[in-house]
């Protein structure tokens, strides 16, 4: 039986960030991952690093985390592209909400500016006529998450972490974890298995919220900013069985990545009716998008807790078991902040932001 200071189960972007930080702190870390590193939700994601301001806890974590991402702005593996986020107001009602949004963001230290309709079309000439304006968060970026996960795991292993690739954690055992090949690892366990959390921690509710994405051939500068409709947050936080929002991103390759949809459905199947709704929504904002060639459609699953916030902390009732999972559609953005919160708690230190909103304890209340 091998002994570790921390056994990280799952090497998505969240587990990888935790393992990397723990190894940097000098812990002897094990990482267990059955598939390719970053091959879960992390591989399906749009990789948009975005601050969401509609929930104070989400704002604090996404802001904290986004600042930590700046350390990777020059890392080739991150494919970091500071295209900025352009939030679009369809009408005066949506535009009226922008001032309050800018104020909330400013309080968190994020600079955002209002964009009038004229400026909007200068920034994005392909947008449909008749839009009311928008809000630009120029410092935001998009990244390529699976390579970052791989980079973090490699850096951790260079600091003496041991990677159990191709292995699955089958169950928790006293003071450790049992792998599917019978190996036992001993030490504190951090469960970072995204949607699969209930397999190891059945007391923590988690659902998979499916999303569809479509990517095109290369059309450099068709759009220049990550575009989101201001109604996006309603789609992200609402409870409609199927919801879509206009969410279109320029990849550094010149490809256009089109999202986003949300539905509770466990099958990987592509729902053409969802794709249709999602694309129609996008065409309403970018009429000429319909003439571009699609290369691929894929689906991915967002690990979703009942209140939409991740579980970050000790698992109540279990000794030396920790969890970092449930980031829904924001786990790439919030990976480094989550790692910081978790490792600080592990060491009994006071985290940079208030950990209370993310404690798993709330799920058992």
């Amino acid at each position: 039986m091998s002994a570790f200071d921390l056994i990280v189960v799952g090497a998505g972007i969240v587990g990888a960030a935790c393992a990397d930080l723990a190894a940097a702190e000098g812990l002897h870390v094990a990482i267990v991952e059955p598939g390719p590193v970053g091959g879960g939700a992390t591989a399906a994601s749009m990789g948009h690093l975005v601050v969401m301001d509609d929930d104070p806890a989400e704002l604090a974590l996404s802001r904290y985390s986004q600042q930590l991402w700046e350390a990777y702005a020059d890392l080739p593996e991150a494919e970091f592209s500071r295209c900025g986020t352009l939030w679009i107001a369809r009408d005066e009602h949506e535009r009226a909400g922008i001032a309050a949004k800018i104020a909330r963001l400013a309080q968190a230290g994020v600079f955002a500016e209002a964009i009038d309709a004229n400026a909007l079309y200068e920034l994005e000439p392909e947008l449909a006529p008749g839009l009311a304006g928008g809000m630009l968060v120029a410092e935001e970026a998009v990244v390529y998450p699976p390579r970052v996960a791989e980079f973090l795991v490699k850096r951790a292993t260079a600091r003496n972490a041991r990677l159990y690739l191709g292995r699955r954690a089958q169950r928790l055992v006293a003071e450790g974890v049992a792998l599917d090949d019978g190996t036992r690892l001993s030490g504190p366990v951090l469960v970072a298995t995204g949607c699969a959390v209930p397999e190891l921690l059945p007391m923590l509710p988690m659902r998979a919220r499916k999303g569809h994405l479509v990517i095109t051939e290369r059309y450099p500068a068709f759009v220049r900013h990550q575009l989101l409709e201001l109604g996006y947050a309603d789609s992200a936080h609402g409870n409609a069985p199927v919801s879509v929002a206009f969410n279109v991103q320029p990849r550094p390759t010149g490809q256009v990545l089109i999202g986003s949809s949300r539905e509770f459905d466990d099958s990987r199947d592509i729902s053409m009716s969802t794709v249709r709704t999602m694309l129609s929504r996008a065409f309403a904002f970018l009429p000429r998008l319909r003439y571009l060639q699609a290369l691929r459609i894929w689906t991915g699953f967002r690990p979703t807790t009942p209140d939409g916030r991740p579980y970050l902390g000790a698992v109540p009732g279990l000794r030396n078991v920790w969890v970092a999972a449930g980031h829904e559609g924001l786990g790439v953005t919030t990976a480094f902040g989550s790692a910081g919160l978790l490792i600080d708690q592990l060491f009994g230190r006071r985290p940079a932001i208030d950990p209370a909103p993310y404690l798993p304890l709330r799920a058992l209340a």
């Binding site: 390719p36 390579r147 592509i270 053409m272 694309l279 060639q293």
Partner: protein
């Protein structure tokens, strides 16, 4: 709006044409779909210079003017379920519903990476043949034909007929392997006659066995190739190189539908029973999609599939022995044109393997899984979805090709948005 067919055939090569003819003969409502503008598939591709060969002409005649047949040319398949295809024609979406589906998607060339293989002027052997048949000017150009298999002779003959100066045909298989092949060919008189005719057409053109193109040289354009014969290296100045290492079944549509594949070889083929039925009860497959076997096997299997899809099991069964005989030829091909391991070691560190995403061999060496390689290097993420690089890597013994995602071929976003298609099961590994 959706069309409905009793039997829908994908691919208008020898196999698909035979299936169409057989099924339509019973009065079934048949749809025949092909991405190309004319019928004939690979082997019977129209040649602007040449007459239509008699067997091809007969096959075209047999399906011409059938009142119960819809010929859907230039129609690309985008997505598929067990009773419906989403297709794109003339930049518009169409839905084709079916009771029975016959997959006759044929094969594509196996292209293997070697230094310089992406230079302008380097083509696939079959690719060059197809271009020239469509009228691409080749007269007076110095062309080397290389790689492996009987396709090299057919390609060289077409090039020569169109006025190319064919400098030589270089086959990787060893001379003894080839001699053994030739000595067994008499059992397939049609094939033997074909071979004799091709050799006659190529009189005066060098044919060397045991020769491999190790590199192509040039800056913006191919100037010369480096040939390895035994231990000797030889340089040949040329304008074009037509190089292909045999054929690989086009299984992608079958894979997306969830048909079981036979993965015993390096490249998967669609698994079928004696009636050409796949693991899905209403889906049949025929021709090279079931393994490389040439046009005779394709014709016979196509007819069996057409009969069976129309419910005429006796007619299908009557052709079993012909099928077995034709398929023995496939085994012979596979054995005698087996690739020399050296062919798999030509790529150097900076040789591009994935052309769509420009990924070099050195970046891929450490992976043993297609998905991990794709996620980390983008290899196979491009428009061809790994049809070329994934197939090459499988041949090089790295890892099996990764699964495909819809659309099967790039399609307009409008096509995806306008369809009334329900859902696409994700049958492939992700």
């Amino acid at each position: 709006m959706a069309e409905r067919y009793d039997v829908l055939v994908v691919g208008a090569g020898p196999a698909g044409l035979a299936a169409t003819q057989a099924a339509a003969g019973y009065g079934a409502r048949v749809g025949l779909v092909d991405a190309q503008s004319t019928q004939g598939g690979q082997v019977w591709r129209r040649d602007v210079r040449g007459a239509v060969p008699p067997d091809a002409a007969a096959a075209f005649r047999a399906v011409a003017n059938l009142p119960n047949l819809d010929w859907l040319a230039q129609t690309q398949i985008v997505a598929a379920t067990q009773n419906e295809l989403l297709v794109e024609h003339d930049a518009r979406a169409r839905s084709l519903r079916y009771d029975k589906l016959v997959l006759a998607c044929g094969a594509r060339e196996l292209l293997l990476p070697f230094p310089g293989w992406t230079l302008p002027g380097v083509f696939g052997a079959g690719g060059a043949q197809a271009l020239v048949k469509q009228g691409w000017p080749i007269a007076g150009k110095r062309v080397v034909v290389a790689g492996s298999g009987p396709l090299l002779l057919a390609a060289a003959a077409t090039l020569k007929k169109h006025g190319a100066n064919v400098l030589g045909i270089y086959e990787q298989a060893a001379p003894a392997q080839l001699a053994a092949f030739a000595s067994r060919l008499w059992r397939w008189p049609a094939k033997a006659a074909q071979a004799v005719a091709l050799r006659a057409a190529l009189a005066g053109v060098t044919y060397r066995a045991g020769a491999v193109v190790a590199a192509a040289h040039g800056d913006a354009q191919l100037r010369a190739i480096e040939l390895r014969i035994g231990k000797q290296m030889r340089q040949i100045d040329c304008d074009h190189l037509a190089v292909g290492y045999g054929l690989v079944p086009n299984v992608e549509l079958a894979e997306l539908l969830g048909c079981a594949l036979d993965a015993s070889g390096r490249h998967p083929r669609v698994a079928v029973d004696a009636d050409q039925r796949t693991s899905l009860a209403n889906v049949y497959a025929a021709g090279e999609i079931c393994g490389i076997g040439g046009r005779d096997a394709a014709r016979i299997e196509g007819a069996i599939a057409g009969h069976a899809a129309a419910g005429a099991m006796q007619a299908a069964q009557a052709m079993q022995s012909a099928r077995r005989r034709a398929r023995r030829f496939s085994a012979l091909l596979e054995m005698h044109f087996a690739l020399d391991p050296r062919v798999r070691e030509l790529a150097t560190d900076d040789t591009v393997v994935c052309r769509c995403e420009n990924v070099a061999w050195s970046a891929l060496r450490d992976f043993d899984d297609a998905r991990a390689a794709k996620l980390q290097t983008r290899c196979g993420m491009g428009a061809c979805q790994g049809r070329i690089c994934g197939t090459a890597l499988a041949e090089l013994g790295r890892y099996a090709r990764g699964g495909l995602r819809p659309p099967i071929f790039p399609a307009r976003l409008a096509t995806l948005a306008d369809s009334d298609f329900a859902s696409i099961e994700n049958q492939t590994a992700q």
